[in-house]
Assembly symmetry: C2
Homo-oligomer: 214 residues x 2
Amino acid sequence: MQAGKPVLYSYFRSSCSWRVRIALALKGIDYETVPINLVKDGGQQGAWGRPLGSGAFSLPRLTSLPPCAQLAIIEYVEETRPAPRLLPQDPKKRAAVRMISELIASGIQPLQNLSLLKQVGQENQLAWAQKAITSGFNALEKTLRSTSGKFCVGDEVSMADLCLAPQVANAERYKVDLTPYPTIGRINKTLLAMEAFRVTHPCRQPDTPPELRA
Amino acid sequence: MQAGKPVLYSYFRSSCSWRVRIALALKGIDYETVPINLVKDGGQQGAWGRPLGSGAFSLPRLTSLPPCAQLAIIEYVEETRPAPRLLPQDPKKRAAVRMISELIASGIQPLQNLSLLKQVGQENQLAWAQKAITSGFNALEKTLRSTSGKFCVGDEVSMADLCLAPQVANAERYKVDLTPYPTIGRINKTLLAMEAFRVTHPCRQPDTPPELRA
């Protein structure tokens, strides 16, 4: 590992990891990837107990923090490398970005992540994940109708968009019908066409298994 | 309702609401409380679909956002009313505050809130909530050992402390043994002695039922 180069502990399929990868790509920050297999390591709960948390980007003394600290990491990157902006300048728009981000990161993702789905039992997993995602997407679609332009909040890409695309990927993985969510679908399509979202996609990571590569 | 006075849609027992109440108390912001009964209204999922989300403090055009946007609301209050500070000035310390806040708000609270517990069935609720809280507190105690002073991060009260006290109250409600968490216990005790935490406590709200008042 090169001295001074930020290290990202990352799992190709983790939506938290993907969000941080997009932030780093948009900011043009070069980093070293250290893959962590959340499944083999006992899920995210297991990863919490490790000295290195997945997504614990370049925060010495904070590396024992949990993978669910994705927004904190993105805020840290934003504060220490402000350009290009991932939060708008206007406080109300910043609040909209943070609310959408939190709706996804606290209100949807934890209710359908690996460690939770293990607890609900194999036969209930799909229905459970679908319910969590559709319930959250109902609120999200309604919100985006009033906040979105080209992206989640207006016409500038923001932290909210970093949260959105990985959550839509999870929705697709759990076969959620996206027809009722045209705004989510439209923004997601725009995002996936962007270089920063494309190169950081789970299908193009160092730890992506050959059968899932694209 | 007085024109211009912020309105807080609040449920006495909601930890999200309590966190926002503490922020407002610390900042000295006077507000009007509109109680929303999350239980009668069908839980937080139900509240998401309402025109007013619990905790949707003073954000016109954002009032349809979900109660889980508590951190976004606190960040908005911080940006528009900076004194006294709820985030430290140093970026690494700010990251520590946000990580602890997110660990609680995304990593613990959604896994033991009302709407989730309803889904796991009456007979499993206590064990489920205890597991979610102890698993999170194991990570949190370890983290606080390296970040804390008098409070969660150093010697200044911060957003992390606003997240902590309501989560400890939830832990007590679900009869979690707090003996293995001396740092959490110590900080919580300090917090509960503060005026801003005391007056905003669930046992002293306009909608607190008489039998739960203190």
